[in-house]
Symmetry: C2
Subunit: 429 residues, 2 copies
């Protein structure tokens, strides 16, 4: 017999339902079970007096056990859950649950220890329904626009980019490192003539920080495109894809997100507002009295980042804010610079948190090499520099963290948003 999902149950049908026992009031003559599957909850009402076999089974059922129930769905106005209950002919215990080791109000770290139980709530399941939709909407948006998907290696022979905060791997008789980002390889794809690519995959950061936004492993969403005219092309496509993503989330899960997370999923208007960094600081001072500490004007301070939530809202009635014209000293060596030395890139701030760094890349071998030398990285990036010696299109790109993006959509912390969080002190389950 085919299983019926709980949300599809109609009165007067004989159905087979399967799920976890969310509640079980086992009285002498009656047993009321609340069964939960991923689509909803339903009451199963057992008349124990007239069903000795079922009665015996009911006595063995523990909370969170998994059971299969076959029976008739009937309307009953006294039943709270949709006014329907199931009168079972058969109950089978598929898996008996031990006493629950966590409760809703357990500490986050204890909940992490038993993450597979912690994830069973409607709220926590919704995180992954939303994230699935987010990633798929972004991917389909790009694939419709001719982007190819790549899977670049995570095992690399030199510490990428900065060289610090990288995990070392024993690689047979040699050493390898875990990629901190697909940056160099997505640029390699440009030198391969792939023109437009994206990648969704894990990135690894050996940072010993215990904040609400850092993890040692998370899911990156990166793209790169050739023949852009400037980084403004990147800002445009990023704004469009995020808007499409939020539209999809709002339509499918907007009400659930509001009910379970108390957050409004706002579909942004296009184009997103853009400001130069110096103008941001000027307005933060005039509007909110914030003065950037001396010497830090070339980058956005953490406090300024937070204040940008207000600035974007007050000045543009928007949740997003693109910021441009950072100081070259604060940006990666591979960002292209204009004739005045200003990096041709941007950060995107959403609700007071930076979610992207994007830039046109320097594709001209000699200039790129010079910029690497300036930052003392020329030896580390020798292999990378080769990508630009045999012809490479002008290009640019940006990266998003899928987990960070989900954090912003739902307004929750990093430990909650990840299927399994990884931090300096957390490698289990």
């Amino acid at each position: 017999m085919k299983r019926t999902c709980i949300k599809d149950i109609k009165p007067e049908e004989i159905v087979k339902v399967q799920g976890f026992v969310e509640n079980c009031r086992n009285k002498r003559t009656m047993c009321f079970i609340v069964l939960r599957d991923i689509t909803g909850k339903i009451q199963v009402t057992v008349d124990k007096e007239n069903n000795p076999t079922l009665s015996e089974i009911c006595d063995k059922i523990t909370l969170e056990s998994v059971v299969t129930v076959v029976g008739k769905a009937v309307s009953n106005e006294y039943v709270k859950l949709n006014g329907i209950e199931i009168l079972p002919d058969e109950i089978k215990i598929e898996s008996v649950a031990e006493a629950m080791p966590i409760k809703e109000d357990s500490t986050i770290d204890l909940r992490m220890d038993y993450r597979w139980i912690d994830l069973r709530t409607e709220r926590n399941t919704l995180i992954f329904k939303v994230q699935t939709l987010m990633a798929n909407t972004l991917r389909n948006f790009l694939i419709q626009r001719g982007f190819l998907e790549i899977h670049s290696p995570k095992l690399i022979n030199t510490a990428s980019e900065s060289g610090s905060d990288v995990f070392e791997v024993k690689y047979f008789d040699d050493k390898a490192y875990l990629a901190q980002s697909p940056q160099f390889y997505k640029q390699m794809a440009m030198a391969s003539g792939f023109e437009r690519i994206f990648e969704v995959g894990p990135v690894f950061r050996a940072e010993k920080s215990n904040t609400s936004k850092h993890a040692t492993e998370f899911t990156g969403f990166d793209l790169e495109m050739s023949y852009i005219e400037s980084y403004k092309d990147l800002m445009q496509i990023e704004a469009e894809m995020l808007t499409e993503m939020l539209k999809a989330v709002s339509e499918k899960y907007g009400e659930d997100v509001k009910r379970l997370f108390g957050v409004d999923v706002v579909v942004p208007t296009l184009p997103f507002p853009v400001m130069k960094l110096c103008d941001v600081y000027a307005e933060l001072e005039s509007r909110y009295g914030y003065i950037c500490p001396k010497g830090e004007e070339g980058d956005l301070t953490t406090e300024a980042e937070h204040l940008c939530e207000n600035l974007a809202k007050d000045k543009f009635n928007h949740e997003f804010l693109f910021i441009t014209d950072y100081d070259a000293k604060k940006r990666a060596f591979y960002h292209m610079r204009d004739e005045q030395g200003v990096p041709l890139g941007y950060d995107l701030i959403w609700k007071g948190v930076e979610i992207t760094t994007g830039a046109q890349r320097e594709h001209r071998y000699e200039i790129l090499k010079k910029q690497a030398v300036e930052k003392g990285l020329d030896k580390d990036v020798q292999n990378y520099l080769k990508f630009f010696e045999y012809g490479c299109p002008p290009h640019g790109g940006f990266g998003l963290g899928l987990d960070r993006l989900t954090m912003r959509v739902l307004n929750i912390g990093i430990k909650e948003v990840m299927f399994l969080f990884r931090g300096p002190n957390r490698l289990t389950p």
Copy 2:
């Protein structure tokens, strides 16, 4: 001015085209450039005598340099490439290429050293167009059927499954390992009540084998689903999703694959044929005289695997063959077994190569533990066993290798099919 893709160029239009210089015949009075982008090739014809500025630029152009050309597209019946040429007003060299370090007939290992150049051919780019379509078709197929996407951690605290062939990572003051498969975590998602999930991500194998199908890192495509009635549900969904995938590839790239790889993309018929392992051996003997070596009848030998290509074709006129009823000794401890001890799972053979192992999983804690003890793994899988102590639905799943799947579609080897191959002696570029 907006860029026009080469395939979209129409005569009498003023266009801006950008791409690599595939060929350059630079004569005294004329220069003929063949420009290539991801959509096609076009001839750029420069009248050097009447354009001294352009003439100077032409003299600097090397093969595989990247250029931007603005000019008028005109029909010319003497031009081989679609009968169109561009008469340029402007040419800009975006990136000068050094002399090419590889040729089409270079060894595969030299080509790997310069993979970004190797990937520039129409043939090699097609690999990733096809793979992009494959992965996206599979994902969308599953998402339409209510599957959630997860991103499970690749950093784990114990060597997964067999314990051998696993990479060790220095994790701050501790050790971690790289996940060999998301197996345990996709089952964890079942214990979380996610019901149907899939994951696309890297898997790592520290195997020191240099064959045409092994890599130390590749892209896994894994799924798991709850409340199946038997592994036959898995075979059905797998057959359906592969059929949908091949239909998409055939429609969009069938002709290109035939032209560039000489392979027919065959859309299979449903259902796929199924045989028991003992029947496979009986037919391999009667049809092709193959006799399985004594003691190896519980598993499919490599030679038998290859012969299954003929068997599937001769007996069923099909490219695929499901094989069931393997010996429990040859299967993972977490496969469910029937009352006779026969594992409730299958392998899928495509064109003589195993592409999947699928099975209903043992979700009953006590039996699962017993099976782990039998294989001497109970200590290694302690954390995993916990997933089954607090209620877990009956479930099953299977895994595919995205690279191996692409190998079969295009009939090429592992080094060719991967964006960047990783093997015991290969960590670069």
